[in-house]
């Protein structure tokens, strides 16, 4: 028979190996992206990042795609976050546990709906609606993509934010209310600050899904590899990194510089997600120290 001690050692080794494998895979993936995209940086230099013109075979300027990804993701979060937070507060603090269960099940169901389904709704319903409502000549725009993404990440954000709020121990609420705070005031002054770390985690998971979403964005963003003019006019078509990869990757496999340039886009996406996650952790640390 195994001694409890040897079982503990076995599991410790197992967990360490698994954790190293997971980290190692991410590092390997990163190195692969760097290696595959190196030729485009040699050919275009910094111009790859700042260039505004992309025409396979002639020039590879990634700025419109980097801009498109960043602006669409941020706008999507900005649109979804207020609704997600309000919904989570209601679900966690005001609903009966039965109703909360139903609400959460529904949200988790929505969170699991594949992107293509949202994409078809985007083409069939959202794009024409945006066109009509804002009086545009066409409804396939950066704004439409952001709106669709906002709708897509809302369930994820809501259910994770609800988890974060619900994880705050009940005694905080009891004490706040015994001090005479109203329920709403309790949420605002006690529960939300306590749940900050979890809420931020929810935001980053939502961000991850939004930034990587390909097919739904591809169908409504317009697919034009140029900056909108002026740059803040989001009612014009644009392009995001995943959408560009989705449209061009299958044709470019083994195609030399075009493939390297697409890998370079992948690397940028990787770094953007990494950068935002690191920024989030720093933000959180400072919040704790203060």
């Amino acid at each position: 028979m195994f001694q409890p001690r040897s079982i503990a050692i076995f599991f410790r080794v197992l967990v360490t190996v698994l954790a190293l494998t997971a980290t190692g895979l991410i590092v390997l993936f990163f190195l692969f992206l760097v290696k595959e995209s190196l030729p485009v940086f040699q050919a275009e230099g910094v111009g790859f990042l700042t260039g505004r013109d992309w025409w396979a075979g002639e020039s590879y300027g990634a700025w419109p795609m980097i801009f498109g990804s960043a602006i669409v993701t941020l706008l999507a979060l900005g649109l979804a976050l207020p609704f997600a937070l309000a919904g989570a507060v209601v679900a966690s603090e005001f609903l009966s546990s039965r109703l909360r269960w139903w609400a959460k099940s529904l949200m988790e169901l929505f969170a699991g709906v594949p992107g293509i389904v949202y994409g078809l709704l985007g083409v069939g319903v959202l794009a024409p609606a945006v066109k009509e409502f804002f009086g545009l000549i066409d409804g396939n725009t950066l704004f439409t993509a952001a709106l669709l993404l906002g709708i897509m990440v809302l369930p994820t954000l809501l259910t994770l934010a609800d988890d974060a709020l619900h994880a705050v121990p009940g005694k905080f609420r009891d004490q706040a209310q015994s001090l005479g705070l109203s329920r709403l005031r309790t949420v605002w002054a006690v529960v939300l600050p306590q749940a900050k770390a979890g809420l931020l985690g929810a935001v980053f998971l939502g961000l991850g899904r939004a930034m990587g979403e390909t097919i739904a964005v591809m169908l409504v963003i317009g697919g034009r590899d140029r900056m909108p003019a002026p740059w803040y006019n989001l009612f014009q078509p644009g392009q995001s990194i995943p959408s560009k990869l989705g449209r061009e990757a299958a044709e470019a496999v083994g195609a030399g510089l075009q493939w390297n340039a697409l890998m370079g886009l992948g690397l940028m996406l990787f770094l953007m997600v990494l950068g935002m996650t690191v920024a989030g952790h720093l933000f959180l640390k400072r919040g704790r120290a203060a």
Partner: protein, 284 residues
């Protein structure tokens, strides 16, 4: 229903890719042009029914560029293309010794939203189309239509339809189109976007013209050439539809290509609205 074609295509592709798979020599993967895809799908059904054995043929979309690429790199046994292989691709994939099997021909139409056609834009000259795609004509009233901005729909650079269209309009199959507002991929996507708009112009295989997407005539001198009038042999935008293999095809791939060239396969090509190989003299 404007997007029903889109749904149907998505479902068909899904259905085609989820069948249980027989032995490897009885499996065939065909990828590429969404212009060739519908006839290849019909042919695959018919071929499977007649073959009298367990075969599984999977037909995936992607566009002509993907067709060339997947045949050359071995991702698929057969690539579908609705244009010639470009010199660039021949150079890039020289080792694959790509072989083209023409299975028919097709005319590419310049299409507009039905609202524009009904409002009076029923033909355009090559110069007008060029100016629209260059962005120097931006309003339909400049070509006899209503006072409405033009939604210029372009296609991904590697697409067969785009090569044929741009070769005619700009004299260069990979010409840039600075006037474009939207860039689409498959025939279904382009058709859906033009149908959803009331001011769009685009390029489509003649077989995709519908109630909501109208083909405009091409004005050449005094003549107005219409893509879906088979009697006008002078219609200027034509391209071959082909299957591509790396080297000589063998086994199931060869059988399938032979079937597409046999009378039964050619009948499918003609019924769908394309020109069979024997009718090559009816297209310029």
């Amino acid at each position: 229903m404007k997007i029903s074609g889109f749904f149907l295509a998505a479902l068909l592709c899904h259905a085609a890719s989820t069948q249980a798979a027989p032995a490897a020599e009885n499996r065939l993967l065909v990828m590429g042009s969404t212009t060739v895809l519908p006839v290849a799908s019909l042919a695959a059904e018919e071929f499977t029914r007649r073959s009298g054995r367990e075969v599984s043929i999977t037909i995936n979309p992607g566009g002509s560029g993907v067709g060339v690429n997947s045949a050359a790199t071995g991702r698929a046994s057969i690539g579908m293309i609705s244009r010639e292989i470009s010199s660039d691709e021949h150079k890039r994939f020289a080792e694959a010794r790509l072989k083209t099997h023409v299975i028919g021909h097709d005319r590419v139409a310049c299409v507009v939203s039905s609202e524009i056609y009904q409002a009076g834009v029923q033909s355009l000259s090559r110069e007008e189309i060029r100016a629209i795609y260059q962005g120097t004509i931006t309003n339909w009233k400049e070509v006899g239509g209503p006072d409405r901005e033009i939604v210029v729909v372009d296609k991904e650079r590697h697409r067969g339809t785009r090569h044929a269209f741009m070769r005619y309009v700009f004299g260069d199959p990979t010409a840039r189109a600075p006037g474009a507002r939207l860039v689409t991929g498959s025939n279904n996507e382009e058709q859906a976007k033009i149908a959803a708009s009331d001011a769009a112009v685009g390029m489509l295989s003649t077989a995709w013209i519908s109630d909501e997407v109208a083909g405009v005539g091409i004005r050449e001198g005094q003549a107005v050439l219409v893509s879906n009038d088979a009697s006008q042999i002078a219609y200027p935008i034509v391209r071959p539809l082909s299957l591509v293999t790396a080297g000589e095809p063998a086994g199931l791939a060869r059988e399938f290509i032979e079937f597409m060239l046999a009378p039964a396969g050619q009948a499918l090509v003609e019924n769908f609205g394309y020109y069979p190989v024997a009718a090559a003299d009816r297209v310029r």
